[in-house]
Amino acid sequence: MPTTVVLGVIGSDAHVVGVTILERALDAAGFEVVNLGVQTEQAEFVAAATDHDADAILVSSLYGHAEQDCTGFHDHLENAGVDAVTYIGGNLAVGQDDFAQTRATFESLGFDRVFDPETDPTEAINALRRDLNLTTEPDRLRVTS
């Protein structure tokens, strides 16, 4: 059974490049990908996760308003009975905050993992493999030389 990942850019953020590349990387790594694209509301993530019985939800945000866009997100997921690991990545805070602080903020919102904007898709994929106890051949996952 394929492992299904829902991904999208939350809020009114229109940064499309990162999520497009992440979609391709996940696809190439053997995941079933549901890419909701940019400007995706919380409700759309919840609906897609329910409809596709998602194993993981990957949220992207690059315009600095992630915290307000994500407030209450995990309550909605829980209410809808979604049981998926949740990651978030991107420019999560405006300004020069240090990343440890940002990570703590988003972990307290309920995300399982928090990534900075320099993260290579490989890192997210490796994390998914571990968190979901997947057993695919490791070299299937090699995405950068």
């Binding site: 499309v16 928090v114 990534f115 898709p121 030389s145």
Partner: protein, 486 residues
């Protein structure tokens, strides 16, 4: 279904009434009143006249702040200290989203606190009189630059307000900018804008229109940009636009950029009616900039050199502070002067580079193929054809967020740094063209000893901001992310 036909004067009047009722400042935006104002402007402020009669590329920055007095100060600075030939007024995001109430609040906040609560000039809120004060206060021609999918009220107010150039178009301000804008509706909206420009033109005030060439600004293959420019140009010409500036954004390979600008001009002149005066605009690199002003100046320098060889009619300059968002006026002026110095020094000498002709042939062939698909999809009607071609993916834009586009094609640089297609999606390219792209990318794959894949795309997107043109594996491995995955 939308059709490529000129709006009737009744149709125009009906829309005009509705649009101008959307916000109180709309009422004053009448063509009759505006003509006299335009006629009172000196020739040095006639955008189309200045641009079309220039013998060397004119330089134009981007710039917009909330307050009128500060916008005047900013533009005066860019004219005097930046030596800008053409002036911009960049519109704020709320106005682009037609959120005039939020724009008003932002403007009020800015007036009270002196801190800029808007990222541009809320022209609809400033109204016709505010725009006229701006136009009167500066010396040069001035253009509205924005990114507004539904720019009808903005056009009504700013054209009545004395602006003689208006950026954007139904594809170029929809597909790259928004997720949910329906393309057919957006085309209808821009038919109003273009018809309004046509009405001004017919009454003796030639309004310059400028479709936005860079699109998503990220590795857009030239033929896609050119095809869209021509589609938007045809739509505008139908509505009576007679001064059209077709745009193209630098990809960073000089041969490809020069070839693209020449193809843009040649095909623009070929496809557009004779009564339209076609000019071209070159945008300095619109992708990610190095987070370093010194390196950013290197990127700007390559753009200036490209412009010196290709000689577009206009260059939109970047500033060394590009990576951090809106530049200071000093940095904006610096970008203009760095460009000017290199452009002038390079234009005074013959610089003919090899390989431009064959690249231009390829670009033209691809563009014709895309345009034919549009015409076929519309059974001869370019408006319907554009909608349907985007639906099927026969015409597509890489990294387009819009649901009106398939967004299925993916670009990558070849071994020489030229932008090719790695994944064609459903683009209307014949097999021979596809084989050329694949062969070029295969050569890169050999050089890099890896297979052609989306990894190249990912590496290419960041390459210039990392100091390189092509995202080679050794370069991309430089940037390691910080995360808690390990």
């Amino acid at each position: 279904m939308v059709r490529d036909e000129q709006l009737s004067s009744d149709g125009l009047a009906t829309i005009d009434e509705a649009v101008r009722a959307e916000w109180p400042t709309g009422e004053a935006a009448t063509v009759d009143d505006a003509i006299a104002f335009h006629e009172g402007l000196p020739p040095s402020k006639e955008f189309a006249t200045v641009l079309e009669s220039a013998t060397e590329p004119l330089l134009q920055p981007r710039a917009g702040v909330a307050r009128l007095d500060e916008q005047i100060e900013l533009l005066t600075y860019l004219e005097e200290t930046g030596e800008a030939d053409l002036l911009p007024t960049t519109i704020d995001s709320y106005t682009r989203d037609n959120e005039y109430g939020k724009a008003r609040t932002g403007l009020e906040k800015t007036r009270e606190s002196d801190a800029d609560a808007l990222n541009g000039f809320p022209a609809v809120n400033h109204g016709v009189d505010g725009c006229r004060t701006l136009v009167e206060s500066v010396d040069g021609p001035i253009e509205v630059r924005h990114g507004t999918p539904d720019a009808r009220l903005l056009a009504a107010v700013t054209l009545a307000g004395g602006f003689q150039s208006f950026e954007g178009g139904p594809i170029s301000y929809n597909i790259p900018y928004t997720k949910r804008g329906d393309l057919a509706t957006t085309i209808e909206h821009w038919q109003y804008v273009d018809r309004l420009a046509g009405v001004y033109t017919e009454r003796g005030v030639r309004i310059n229109r400028e479709p936005f060439g860079p699109l998503t600004g990220t590795l857009v293959p030239p033929s896609i940009a050119i095809a869209i420019m021509i589609v938007e140009g045809l739509l505008a010409a139908t509505q009576g636009v007679r001064s059209l500036t077709l745009g193209y954004g630098q990809v960073g390979n000089v041969v490809q950029d020069v070839a693209a600008l020449r193809a843009l001009r040649a095909l623009g002149e070929e496809y557009l009616p004779n009564e339209v005066c076609v000019t071209t605009v070159f945008h300095e690199w619109m992708g990610g900039f190095p987070p370093d002003e010194a390196r950013a100046n290197g990127v700007i320098g390559l753009g200036a050199l490209t412009a010196a060889i290709a000689r577009p009619d206009k260059v939109i300059t970047k500033s060394p502070q590009e990576f951090q968002g809106v530049p200071t006026k000093e940095a904006n002026a610096a970008g203009l002067r760095t460009t000017r110095q290199l452009l002038d020094m390079a234009m005074e000498q013959r610089l003919d580079i090899d390989g431009v002709e064959s690249e231009q042939d390829l670009i033209e062939r691809e563009t014709r193929s895309l345009l034919e698909a549009v015409f076929e999809h519309g059974e001869g009607d370019v408006a319907r054809g554009a909608v349907r071609a985007f639906e099927t993916g026969a015409l597509d834009v890489p990294f387009a967020p819009s649901e009106s586009a398939k967004g299925a094609c993916l670009p990558a640089r070849d071994d020489d740094g030229r932008v090719r297609l790695f994944d064609f999606g459903d683009l209307a390219f014949d097999d021979e063209i596809k084989e050329i792209h694949a062969a070029r990318l295969e050569r890169r794959a050999e050089t890099e000893d890896r297979s052609t894949s989306f990894h190249m795309v990912a590496d290419d997107v960041d390459a210039i901001s990392n100091g390189r043109l092509i995202g080679r594996p050794s370069e991309s491995s430089r940037s390691g992310g910080v995360s808690d995955a390990d």
